[in-house]
Amino acid sequence: MSQASIIENLTPESIQSGFASLGYICDESIAMAIYLAVKLNKPILVEGPPGVGKTELAKATASLVDQSLIRLQCYEGLDESKALYEWKYGKQLLYTQVLKDKLGDLLKGAHGLSESVERLHEFGDIFYSEDFLEPRPLLQALKEPNGTVLLIDEIDKSDHEFESFLLEMLSDYQISVPEIGTIKANSTPIVFLTSNNTRELSDALKRRCLHLYIPFPDIKLERKIIQSRVPEAPADLREQLVNFVHTLRDMDLKKHPAISETIDWARALVLLHANSLDAALVKNTLNLLLKHEEDISQVKQELTAVLNKNKAKR
């Protein structure tokens, strides 16, 4: 199937099942967001705690619609020369050198200054032209002939100016290069913006996007995720470890374990040939789940209580 017809035939249900076959288990809200984004040509702003698969969602979408993924990681100080385009200075300097040499030939026979300037004007200005333009991720995404998935990761880390500078790109899928003019997208990319909510994004940006909030998954969904990602884990263990992680998320910790950490932990437990959770095993592998010393010691203290509670739950 061609890419266009894949996109044409998407429905929320087909997206959900498509993702599942790619190993990305999601609920209806995620599928609906992708569906709307594709149909309405709107960017999606994805928010949620770290490690719930925001970046993974963009990757999964790229493979679902069979398009390449262009990723732009935001950080403080990111500016348009790193995100959008850059002039090829070296080549431009060489060009001026070449121009200087040729200038004599060009102006040969010209009488007076005004005639020379006229001739110079006739000479096309290629100094600022697309030949000397070095495309960066955003421009690349617009130039892609068959569409692409563009991931602007952790937009909350970038500066305010960068955010405003994205607005044109997000609403009209075009960007203005002052020296050349406006460059329009060859085909509309699917755009994801992710944010960890370290700062509030501007209303102007939010207005242009669909908003998807991904919370930590519920127990059922997380079990499914583990089943799909770590199929070699026995069912009993899977249930226990997901329950355990959920209990941790209810506790007052500095940083709660994310899905990616649950997956890592499950892999580690499989590696250790564990069939069920016991206190010693958890104690030794806890550092895979929790990344702060205080958290680890707090959980170790309450470990038996937590494990017993889980047993009771079952």
């Binding site: 929320p12 209806e28 809200s29 609906m32 967001a33 709307l36 149909k39 309405l40 709107k42 999606i44 702003l45 928010e47 020369s81 850059e86 002039w87 200075y89 431009q92 300097l93 001026t96 100094f127 500066d159 305010h160 700062r199 509030e200 501007s202 209303d203 939010k206 207005r207 996007c209 669909l210 908003h211 998807l212 909030y213």
Partner: protein, 478 residues
């Protein structure tokens, strides 16, 4: 359905979800794409197009659940079904009456029953002639719900303001739907001796009761959605302009102050200044040099500094000004994102620093504690300035904004103009906020006119909107 949708948007705005026109248009597109048939899908889709933060999502969900209550149609269906069943059972009682008529020899009655044979289904028997009756008996729930909604719109039910209007609007809506004609029909049908007509009357009456309760629910929903939102808006507007002394009588002032503070913080977040020194930004300098043949005419610097103003607040917390002080402090400490360095001082007869209280305690407790400690005593501005200069004039530098809050009523004591001037000379700006009207400045024991001469800015400040404006100015003038 467009009208319904617009009302929904209004309700959302009332529930503190910011919906711009562009977003409303997007949502209309979403609506067309997803359709009304799948409620949960619609909720998800609209939520993604309209609510743009976790907080807004909660408000949205609550609002949506209230607004699109499709369950009501089901109950209508149930009622009609039970009514039908009742009639069927009554009909089965009719047949024995025929037999008994024959048996009793009353052939005339029996003949009339046979020549007017009982129809097999009650639906065929009962043909209502009014449009409303037909609609209700047809059992088409979607159409009934639509009719209720359109009656609601034609009677402007969304304009409902107070509880007591519920009955009035209910009656109006029933009228708009053509209740009068139906009542008449019921009455006529009951009067006629024909059994079919009496059956119809019974059916219609039960349908009417169902409708009445549906309409009542509809109005209830409108009230919850619209009037509540409007009431809240109205109250917040009042709270903004009411004098701060009276503001304590209102509920959730702190919520409003937080909201205002958040708005200001957003507006002034990340104000950055580019410096003309520091590390050279080679990349952008080189870039700008290209048109000049590689000669670097226009050096660019790397260092950008976020302006985080240092603020010292000196608050008069004696009886007359203490309420204003409460809100000023509440405001400043809610602005922690933009103003991380706030030091607070309180005085009536003598001055002391209360910054620590605000770091250790909850906002409300800290303010109460401040008022407790320093609030008793007669005001002495001169002493306060002397104390301040002794205590921390050294910490005041050219980036510091000093805010003084007070009515400048010095009880005829020494004004210590000189101390104030010292502060002014050292700081970036000196702002005086006075809760009294400008016309009263300088009257009686007020030293305001004299102090005014040494302030960068002196403002009247006795309501939340004054306070917001003053702090906005403070942030702009950095």
């Amino acid at each position: 359905m467009d009208n319904t949708f617009v009302e929904f948007i209004h309700a959302l705005r009332g529930a503190d979800v910011r919906v711009s026109t562009a977003e409303a248009l997007d949502a209309m597109q979403v609506l067309q794409l997803v359709g009304y048939h799948n409620r949960s899908a619609l909720k998800l889709a609209l939520g993604q197009a309209l609510a743009k933060s976790e907080e807004e999502k909660h408000s949205f969900n609550a609002c949506f659940d209230h607004y699109f209550q499709f369950t009501s149609m089901d109950s209508l269906k149930e009622h009609t079904e039970t009514a039908l069943k009742e009639m069927e059972s009554q009909q089965s009682e009719q047949t024995p009456s025929l037999i008994s008529n024959i048996l009793s020899g009353d052939m005339l009655a029996a003949m009339s029953q046979i020549t007017n044979p009982q129809p097999s289904s009650p639906l065929e028997a009962a043909q209502s002639e009014t449009p409303l009756g037909q609609l209700l008996l047809s059992g088409d729930q979607a159409a009934a719900a639509m009719a209720i909604a359109s009656a609601g719109q034609s009677t402007n039910a969304s304009q409902i303001q107070v509880m007591t209007q519920k009955g009035l609007y209910g009656r109006r809506m029933m009228m708009a739907m053509g209740l009068e004609a139906m009542e008449e029909e019921i009455w006529q049908a009951e009067l006629s001796g024909n059994i079919n007509h009496q059956l119809l009357a019974q059916q219609l009456r039960s349908a009417r009761d169902v409708l009445r309760s549906e309409v009542k629910d509809y109005i209830e929903r409108q009230f919850v959605l619209q009037a509540k939102a409007k009431g809240k808006q109205l109250r917040q507007e009042t709270m903004m302009s009411v004098r701060l002394e009276h503001l304590r009588e209102f509920k959730d002032t702190q919520v409003l102050v937080r909201k205002l503070a958040k708005r200001l913080a957003k507006k002034h977040a990340q104000r950055k200044k580019v410096h003309n020194r520091g590390q050279l930004d080679v990349r952008s300098t080189l870039r700008l040099s290209i048109p000049h043949g590689g000669i670097m005419f226009n050096p660019q610097w790397r260092s950008k500094r976020t302006n985080r103003p240092k603020v010292f607040v000196i608050c008069d917390v004696s009886g007359s000004v203490s309420q204003v002080a409460r809100f000023l402090l509440m405001f400043l400490y809610s602005l922690a994102d933009v103003l991380p360095k706030v030091r607070a001082f309180a005085f009536s007869s003598q001055l002391g620093e209360v910054t620590e209280l605000f770091q250790q305690l909850e906002l409300d407790d800290a303010i109460d504690e401040t008022l407790d400690r320093y609030g008793n005593g007669s005001t002495n501005y001169g002493q306060a300035f002397l104390d301040f200069n002794d205590h921390c004039l050294r910490d005041v530098d050219s980036k510091t904004t000093v805010i003084i809050l007070g009515d400048a009523r010095n009880n005829y004591g020494d004004a210590e103009i000189e101390s104030l001037r010292e502060i002014k000379q050292r700081c970036h700006q000196l702002i005086w906020l006075n809760p009294e009207q400008r016309s009263r400045w300088g009257s009686g024991d007020s030293e305001m006119k004299r102090y005014h001469a040494h302030c960068t800015l002196a403002e009247v400040c006795n309501s939340l909107s004054h306070l917001e404006r003053a702090i906005d100015k403070l942030l702009i003038r950095q």
